[in-house]
């Protein structure tokens, strides 16, 4: 199947749309969840750090000389003591003239570095949150608060605490990892569910496809089976069309037959009357009437046959078992040619053969060929049917062979020309082979006439075959 046809298939469309929607939804969910989690963790982290800031603020004392003092022992968290532990405090001083000095006091964990001086103005007592770089270039969350003490009205003290953000990013990263994995698993499960849904949802279409294939292969005349309410109207309409087609062909046939009946009886009357007069008086008029009646009859036969052939569209869903048709015609031949004592032998194929077409057409083709063979046969007519091996679409071959005088090569080419009769002494219209050839052409078959081994004529009819029931029909996927 080509890429384009794949792209236009319903299955592909449904799956593609579902997949795109799923991926988008899951991505969005991932981003949202990750953001929420990050926010939450940050808030927790900030809250913890605010507590630390409060503690440091509470431990800030001033000695008699007005120098600030923070007793490291008073701060419980051991990380304050461990160098570069990721938790730091620092005290900055801003004098009344606006000059600032960073790191008047620092936590032991800052070792010999200090936190960068932050350039913003704080209202007294306000807490600010920043992010910045600390020792070893670690990303830090920085909280600061400005305090003023009554003893030193001009000086402003800024207490800064900072914590390493790697804790937060680590938690967020591991959360993201777990979440991505779960979302991926969810995606896989949803895609599987979508596949199942599409398969279940589209299964009626598959059934329809099989039913159509059955009709095409001629296993059924109509689409069989119950379909969902969305599809059933289409199926019903299609079946109606099939029925109507069959009906139209049948009606055309009946009308052709009725016309034949309506015309031929008066022609018979004319012919009998003319024959009687001709015998009695030898009248020129009678001779003319007789001649023209004969001509009219052949015209009627020819055009009716053509009309019938034209009415035979190759309707889908037709199959005709070869065996019964052949048997019926052989019964006719045995009865009609009984006086000539012609023995008809039918060698059937190993498997039942089915003609992919209309029963009456098959009857017409085989009937004319068999009748011809019986008319000319010395004593035997042999019919042999077989499937053509490896033909695609399947074909079958029917050989009809007589042991009569045969036709010489020069005449063989002329046989089947409209109304040509090589021997006027044998009754018939001479249209038989021409009609056979028309029908064979219509079905895309082939008729070959060749001299048979024993001196007679061998007619080989190659026709499209329908597959047998139960055989793999090659459902087009």
């Amino acid at each position: 199947m080509s890429l384009w046809r794949r792209a236009t298939s319903l299955r592909f469309r449904l799956l593609a749309a579902t997949l795109v929607a799923l991926v988008l939804a899951l991505l969005l969910a991932g981003v949202l969840l990750s953001g929420l989690f990050r926010d939450h963790v940050m808030r927790q982290f900030e809250a913890a750090l605010t507590q630390q800031l409060d503690q440091v603020t509470a431990r800030l004392e001033f000695d008699a000389a007005g120098q600030p003092l923070i007793d490291p022992q008073a701060l419980s968290d051991p990380r304050w003591q461990k160098p570069y532990s990721g938790l730091y405090w620092q005290l900055d001083r801003t004098t009344a003239d606006g000059l600032s000095r960073a790191g008047v006091l620092r936590s032991r964990s800052l070792w010999d570095t200090s936190l960068p001086l932050l350039a913003d103005e704080l209202a007294d007592g306000a807490v600010h949150v920043h992010q910045g770089k600390g020792p070893l270039d670690a990303p830090l969350l920085i909280l600061e608060r400005k305090v003023k003490i009554a003893e030193q009205p001009d000086a402003r003290w800024r207490i800064v605490v900072a914590a390493d953000l790697q804790e937060v990013t680590g938690a967020v990263d591991s959360f993201n990892g777990v979440m991505a994995a779960s979302l991926a698993v969810l995606l896989v499960l949803l895609v599987l569910a979508a596949l199942a849904q599409v398969a279940v949802g589209l299964s009626p279409l598959r059934t329809m496809q099989r039913a159509l294939a059955d009709v095409h292969e001629g296993r059924t005349q109509r689409l069989q089976g119950r379909f969902p309410t969305e599809v059933q109207p289409l199926i019903d309409d299609f079946n109606d069309v099939l029925d109507r087609n069959t009906e139209v062909v049948a009606r055309a046939r009946t009308q052709a037959g009725n016309l034949a009946h309506a015309l031929k009886t008066p022609l018979s009357v004319l012919d009998q009357a003319a024959a009687g007069t001709l015998a009695a008086q030898g009248s020129e008029l009678a001779r003319l009437v007789k001649e023209q009646v004969g001509l009219s009859r052949r015209h009627i036969d020819w055009h009716l046959a053509r009309a019938r052939v034209a009415a035979t569209q190759r309707l889908p869903g037709q199959r005709t078992a070869l065996g019964p048709v052949l048997a019926g015609l052989v019964r006719v031949m045995e009865r009609v040619h009984a006086a000539r004592g012609v023995a008809i032998t039918v060698q059937a194929a190993d498997v039942p053969l089915f003609f992919a077409g209309e029963e009456q057409d098959l009857q017409e083709m085989l009937g004319n060929l068999l009748d011809n063979a019986c008319k000319w046969a010395g004593s035997t007519v042999t019919v042999h049917a077989e499937a053509v091996m490896g033909s695609k679409p399947p074909q079958m071959q029917i050989h009809i062979q007589d042991d009569g005088p045969g036709i010489n090569a020069a005449h063989l080419a002329l046989v089947g020309a409209r109304g040509l009769r090589l021997d006027e002494s044998v009754p018939g219209t001479g249209l038989g082979l021409a009609i056979v050839q028309d029908l064979v052409g219509l079905y895309g078959g082939e008729l070959t006439l060749q001299p048979a081994g024993g001196g007679g004529l061998r007619a080989t009819l190659r026709l499209p075959a329908a597959t047998a029931f139960g055989a793999s029909a090659g459902v087009r996927a």
Binding site: H261, P266, V336, G367
Partner: protein, 220 residues
């Protein structure tokens, strides 16, 4: 030989009847399926010429009913529908031969002759009994090669007897098969015809089986 002709078209019926009578057959006619069925089921016919397109009851149904009722006389069907489907249906309904309209009278007569001969189990168109020969195609009777002149009734009696070689044929049976239904039948006339035939042919040829009828005896 007595024939039932079933045809609904009056002119064609009259023509066919004339043709068959000219050929030496006693002809009964019917113009619809119901009458045809009744006649065929109750009267003895040597052959039936049956048109398929009939009013009241179509030809195929009539034929099927005859066959279902055990009537075995040969039937030639006339059909305007020149397709094999109808021919198969006709033969399967019990017809012995078919003829497609329009046809020549000679063709019809040839088919009827062949059917009657086949029904009697005779192969040749020329019936033989010793030196006596009857050509069913031309209606000529010869004795040792010399033509014998017969009236139409004499011919009918001889024709019927020659189709039943060696069989005893009753006077009633002879009457039934040489006269059409509407004819004034008198079995005594049969004796007259047989008497005339005995004068024209070797007298020992037609044997009288007392109380039963007549038998054609080939000379030893």
């Amino acid at each position: 030989m007595r024939i039932l002709l079933v045809e609904d078209e009056p002119t064609l019926r009259a023509q066919l009847r004339a043709g068959l009578v000219d050929a030496g057959y006693a002809v009964d006619v019917a113009d619809n399926g119901r009458d045809a069925h009744f006649l065929g089921a109750t009267e003895a016919f040597d052959a039936v010429v049956l048109d398929l397109g009939l009013p009241v009851l179509d030809g195929l149904t009539v034929l099927k009913r005859w066959r279902d009722g055990g009537r075995t006389m040969p039937v030639l069907i006339l059909t305007a529908r020149d397709n094999w489907h109808d021919k198969v249906a006709g033969i399967d309904a019990g017809a012995d031969d078919y003829l497609t309209k329009p046809f020549h009278m000679e063709e019809l007569l040839a088919r009827v002759r062949a059917l009657i001969r086949r029904a009697s189990g005779l192969a040749s168109a020329v019936l033989q009994c010793g030196a006596l020969a009857l050509d069913t195609r031309s209606g000529r009777v010869t004795l040792a090669g010399q033509p014998v002149s017969l009236t139409s009734h004499e011919y009918k009696v001889l024709d019927y007897l020659m189709h039943r070689p060696g069989a005893v044929v009753s006077r009633t049976e002879l009457t039934e098969h040489i006269y059409a239904q509407d004819f004034e039948r008198d079995s005594n006339t049969i004796e007259v015809f047989v008497g005339r035939l005995r004068r024209k042919l070797p007298p020992e040829l037609i044997e009288t089986v007392r109380g039963l009828g007549y038998r054609l005896v080939p000379p030893p």
